[in-house]
């Protein structure tokens, strides 16, 4: 146990150092385009961390997290545009709504296993997408344009600079990381790993499998919705296409998978590699409209998932190298 405690302390220190470095980066990087990518990277790192709680630690592979993301974004945007409620409350409200919906959906879906569960999550998110697509009050297919009402932290709108968004994303990312770090060593964390490895055995040992899945789903959905609320304010325009599609669910899971699922650092590492790559390929060679960016992106995903099934984090594994037989 001692080495486990030591490792956890080391993780915490490493996280603090990285966060401090990340906080200083904007002093040296003034380019707005690069800052934009940094914001997105941090956001996806946090989202992927949220996905990782349910998908990685608890082993319930959800490919429908776009639903929670969209709910967060829509709750914030609707409350703000229709009732003038400040985005901060919208964010919280979206989080709570998403967590409640995750619990309600978890009730039937957690009885499903394997492919049946994965497909159910996709299908549920798709239903959400179609409903929002046809919901006139929420702008239907046209979406919602969030009007500019100022430039302040109170209204969570910043027109002059991307930096406040960057710092919010950094805090969000740190919070998501810290929650994962904290849960990893809690009763829940052990339950989740037990459920992931062998639900039947866990059940027989007294782990309430169903409840622990529900807990993971609620935390995961809450954090995802916060990300959605942030995204709505960041881009100030949302429509079902941009926040609720299946592609989006995959984008949340991918960093964790590339980095190493069910690990503390996997989502962060994955996002740092994947998001800049996606954005750069899209803007530098995607403009031609001929899909070269997709070709590259797809190839990288195939190669990484085949070459490093346990994620890139496996490269830095503390286990002796001889154990990992090269494939």
């Amino acid at each position: 146990m001692d080495s486990f405690t030591q490792r956890r302390r080391r993780d915490l220190i490493l996280a603090a150092v990285l966060a401090a470095i990340a906080a200083c980066v904007p002093f040296f990087v003034k380019d707005v385009y690069v800052q934009n990518i940094m914001v997105l990277t941090l956001m996806y790192a946090a989202l992927s961390q949220a996905w990782n709680i349910l998908g990685g630690y608890c082993g319930q592979i959800s490919l429908g997290h776009a639903l929670y993301f969209g709910l967060g974004a829509y709750t914030t945007a609707l409350l703000f545009t229709k009732f003038g409620v400040l985005p901060w409350f919208g964010m919280l409200g979206g989080g709570i709504i998403s967590a409640l919906i995750a619990l309600a959906l978890g009730y039937p879906t957690f009885r499903l296993r394997g492919h049946y569960f994965v497909i159910a999550t996709i299908v549920i998110a798709e239903i959400g997408f179609l409903l929002f697509h046809n919901w006139d009050y929420a702008g239907a297919a046209l979406g919602i344009d969030i009007p500019v009402r100022g430039d302040s932290w109170a209204k969570f709108q910043f027109t002059r600079s991307k930096l406040p968004f960057y710092y919010f994303a950094l805090v969000f990312c740190c919070v998501a990381w810290f929650i994962t770090w904290w849960l990893e060593d809690s009763k829940w964390g052990f339950w989740w790993r037990a459920v992931k490895d062998n639900p039947d055995a866990a059940e027989s040992l007294g782990v309430v499998v169903f409840n622990s899945k529900m807990g993971a789903a609620a935390v995961s959905a809450f954090l995802t919705a916060i990300g959605g609320a942030f995204y709505a304010q960041f881009v100030s325009y949302i429509d079902p296409e941009s926040v609720m599609t299946f592609q989006f669910s995959l984008l949340m899971a991918l960093p964790a998978v590339l980095g190493g699922i069910g690990t503390l650092w996997g989502p962060v590492l994955g996002a740092v590699i994947l998001i800049p790559m996606t954005e750069l390929t899209r803007s530098f060679i995607g403009g031609s409209g001929r899909g070269v960016d997709l070709i590259l992106y797809g190839t990288v995903i195939v190669v990484i998932s085949l070459a490093r099934p346990d994620g890139l984090l496996g490269l830095f594994s503390r286990r002796p190298a001889s154990k990992g037989v090269p494939q």
Binding site: G114, H115, V118, I119, L130, N134, Y297, T299, D310
Partner: protein, 277 residues
């Protein structure tokens, strides 16, 4: 339409049930088959009806190659095997879509005229579009052939056996990779059939597969993984449900009915209608 969904799903079911692999590039396989039909028509003026066997053969080779090049390695993964498969095939899907955009451009294409295109036939006063009717007939024939194939031939039995227990099969001298590669080929050939038929009455563009892929997954899961018959029955149900929903709800919501039925079925019976695993 339901029979076509069935055909589309049977190909997927074969791959799904065969080795528990989720092929997220399923829709892109369909897209490729449709383009193959299109180009055979454009360059060599082969009528879609005649090119269907050619496309199926081409897809057979393609599927087997994909298995040998990608899936074989994905299945060898020791950790997170489910995720590796999902993301390897998902990456493949993006790659194929990108390649399609690159080589075929994102334009919408359609086959202007064929032996069957745009014709209707009247049976007992009900007008039916001929392409759909032929598609349905081909689906039934293909399903019958597949059913016979799975139950009566050595290869079919080997496939079933490998699905049951790959380890034990290796002991009696069956090459797992060969069987799986053939299974992938066969599954892809069925997608080829479906694509060949669908090319007659759908627009063809690089993203066309995506719109059918989710319905195919739902169809398979509805019928139950590992059950070829279930996939076919699922297809018919999905077709009927879609037609019914389209009458009640606005057209853009017609898939909601399918998804709702799927959820209802698996909540009541978590193994799908005919699932046995």
């Amino acid at each position: 339409m339901g029979l076509l969904y069935g055909l589309l799903a049977v190909g997927l079911a074969l791959i799904f049930g065969l080795m528990d692999v989720t092929n997220f590039a399923h829709g892109e396989f369909l897209m490729l088959a449709m383009y193959l039909t299109f180009f055979l028509f454009m360059f060599w003026a082969v009528d879609p009806l005649l090119s269907i066997p050619l496309v199926a053969a081409g897809m057979f080779v393609f599927g087997a190659v994909i298995y040998l090049v990608i899936i074989r390695f994905a299945m060898r993964a020791k950790a997170n095997i489910g995720m590796v498969q999902i993301f390897a095939t998902f990456g493949l899907a993006i790659l194929m879509r990108g390649l399609a955009q690159f080589f075929f451009t994102p334009d919408y294409r359609s086959i202007p005229a064929s032996l069957l295109g745009g014709k209707t036939i009247s049976i007992f006063g009900v007008f039916l579009p001929v392409p759909q009717l032929v598609g349905a007939l081909i689906s039934i024939a293909a399903f019958g052939a597949l059913y016979f194939f799975m139950k009566k031939t050595d290869f079919g039995r080997a496939l079933e056996a490998t699905r049951e227990d790959a380890g034990a099969v290796a002991l009696v001298g069956i090459d797992k990779n060969k069987v799986f590669a053939l299974g992938w080929g066969l599954g892809s050939a069925l997608i080829g059939l479906a694509g060949g038929v669908m090319a007659i009455f759908f627009y063809i563009y690089p993203d066309v597969g995506a719109s059918f892929a989710l319905i195919a997954y739902v169809t398979v899961a509805l019928g139950g993984f590992g059950s070829v018959f279930g996939a076919f029955a699922g297809g018919i149900i999905v077709g009927l449900v879609e037609a019914t929903t389209a009458m009640i709800l606005p057209p853009s919501l017609k898939s909601v009915g399918i998804y709702a039925v799927y959820l209802l079925v698996v909540f009541v019976r978590p193994r799908g209608l005919f699932g046995s695993i």
